[in-house]
């Protein structure tokens, strides 16, 4: 390999249910790969050192920092990003709709990461309360909302899930 070509390799993975094979530089983060190689710019990069949570995506069903995982490490993985939440006709899923109904976002920069964190948290903790949700959200920074409307949106989803179960 000529010296001016940075080291890279071919990876295969699934993103939002679709199979991709692409060549990526070794040093590329998963978040950069999603944005630049696949054009999935819904995943945002804020701090790029694991503090803000804007880049949160699901890898094999677990919420991770997209800026702290290399794209080459996602070889063979199943990745879910914010683009994978709405259905193919563009209808928002219940969590996204709740954010809209409760004004759970203002500028929207942190929203994709928060949606991905809550997607897996509400799946795993259907009986969570407000305190649990605030702790679950501690790894995502929002500078607009003060978190109140985000928590209200998430709680409305918890209530709706409960009603479905009891019906």
């Amino acid at each position: 390999m000529p010296e001016h070509h940075p080291p890279g390799r071919e990876i295969s993975l699934r993103v939002n249910g679709r199979a991709y094979t692409a060549t990526v530089e070794d040093r590329f983060s998963l978040a950069d790969f999603l944005r630049q190689n696949l054009g999935l710019t819904g995943t945002h990069l804020g701090c790029e050192h694991g503090v803000c949570g804007a880049c949160t995506v699901l890898v094999d069903g677990h919420a991770v920092r997209g800026c702290l995982m290399l794209a080459v490490q996602a070889e063979g993985s199943e990745v879910l990003t914010v683009e994978g939440l709405a259905d193919t006709d563009g209808n928002l899923n219940p969590l996204q709709q709740a954010f809209m109904d409760h004004h759970g976002l203002q500028c929207g920069f942190c929203t994709p990461g928060i949606l991905m964190t809550l997607t897996v948290y509400l799946r795993d903790h259907p009986d969570c309360d407000e305190t649990d949700l605030r702790e679950a959200l501690s790894g995502n920074i929002c500078r607009c909302t003060g978190y109140e409307t985000i928590v209200q949106a998430a709680l409305s989803v918890v209530r709706a899930q409960r009603n479905e179960v009891s019906e």
Binding site: D26, S29, E48, G50, H62, V64, L68, L70, Q73
Partner: protein
């Protein structure tokens, strides 16, 4: 920022990792990446080679024995937090791990990665000191065990040579019925603790303290076991006054100082947290602890 270019190496067993490590210059091992990747993104660290230990299955797992538990270095923090079998024998792990970063970082972050990175406020280093950990490090032709007391060489400097890999760690388990507590004070949940305290307490049949263990994190280069306080507590009747005296004694040592937090404030937090932590451990021991 983005990391400087490097060559990525994917290995699938420990011997492959140690062989590669022995033959490369300016190389780092990648475990969970929750500390190393930020340092590389900020270019505090620039490597030529990165060896990814994540595919090495033999480095993952929790093995609970009669009096000790071994964890592979690549065991995820989430896995330790979620282990009901471990929580039944050593509930302090679950209480302490909840303070490690956030959900997203615990999903990737590993036990060995935290011990190798050795942040002064690392909860896992605190547990290692509290539970007399022995750390196994491997090189291409040999392996050795390091007692936690010998492991800390200085600020963020563990006793691991450049050609060695932290492979696993063994923690002592306390008998059933012991009391436990882990708490810390930080500016925000998930931040590094200004001071953290872990305590374990075993009560004798007559209600006196049979054995106590205490550790502080965030106050020095590494975790600080409070052997003097442990000796003072042994054989005493557990009372509020005793725990207050223990808190005062714990605070009588030099503590680190930084731009935001004075040593005096750390001492104040130490005395308060130690007293409360012992009271909680005692309460739990009286309730039958983890039995």
């Amino acid at each position: 920022m983005k990391p400087a270019p490097f060559q990525y190496h994917r290995v699938t067993d420990l011997s492959e990792a140690t062989a590669l490590l022995a033959g490369l210059e300016n190389v780092r091992l990648l475990s969970g990446g929750q500390s190393l990747m930020p340092m590389m993104n900020l270019r505090y660290v620039a490597v030529d080679h990165l060896i990814d230990l994540n595919p090495v299955a033999e480095l993952s797992g929790i093995e609970i024995e009669d009096t000790q538990v071994r964890m592979g270095a690549m065991t995820r923090q989430r896995t330790v937090l979620d282990s009901d079998a471990l929580a039944a024998r050593a509930p302090i792990f679950r209480e302490a791990l909840a303070f490690v970063g956030h959900i997203q970082t615990r999903n990737r972050g590993t036990i060995g990665g935290s011990l190798a990175h050795m942040d002064p406020a690392a909860e896992l280093m605190g547990l290692a000191a509290l539970l007399n950990a022995r750390i196994t490090v491997a090189r291409h032709d040999a392996e050795r065990d390091v007692a936690i007391a010998d492991y800390v060489r200085g600020y963020m400097t563990p006793d691991i040579e450049p050609d060695e890999v932290l492979a696993s760690v063994m923690f002592d388990l306390w008998p059933a019925g012991h009391g436990w507590d882990f708490r810390e004070f930080a500016q925000r949940h998930g931040d590094f603790a200004i001071v953290g305290v872990g305590t374990l307490l075993d009560l004798a049949d007559d209600g006196r303290v049979a054995r106590a263990a205490l550790v502080l994190i965030g106050v020095d280069e590494g975790p600080v076991r409070l052997f003097d306080v442990e000796t003072m507590l042994a054989g005493e009747k557990p009372t509020e006054a005793l725990f207050r005296a223990a808190g005062d004694m714990a605070a009588k040592r030099d503590m680190s100082e930084d731009a935001l937090v004075s040593a005096d404030y750390r001492k104040h937090l130490t005395s308060v947290l130690v007293e409360r932590s012992l009271a909680q451990s005692c309460r739990r021991a009286k309730e039958g602890g983890n039995a």
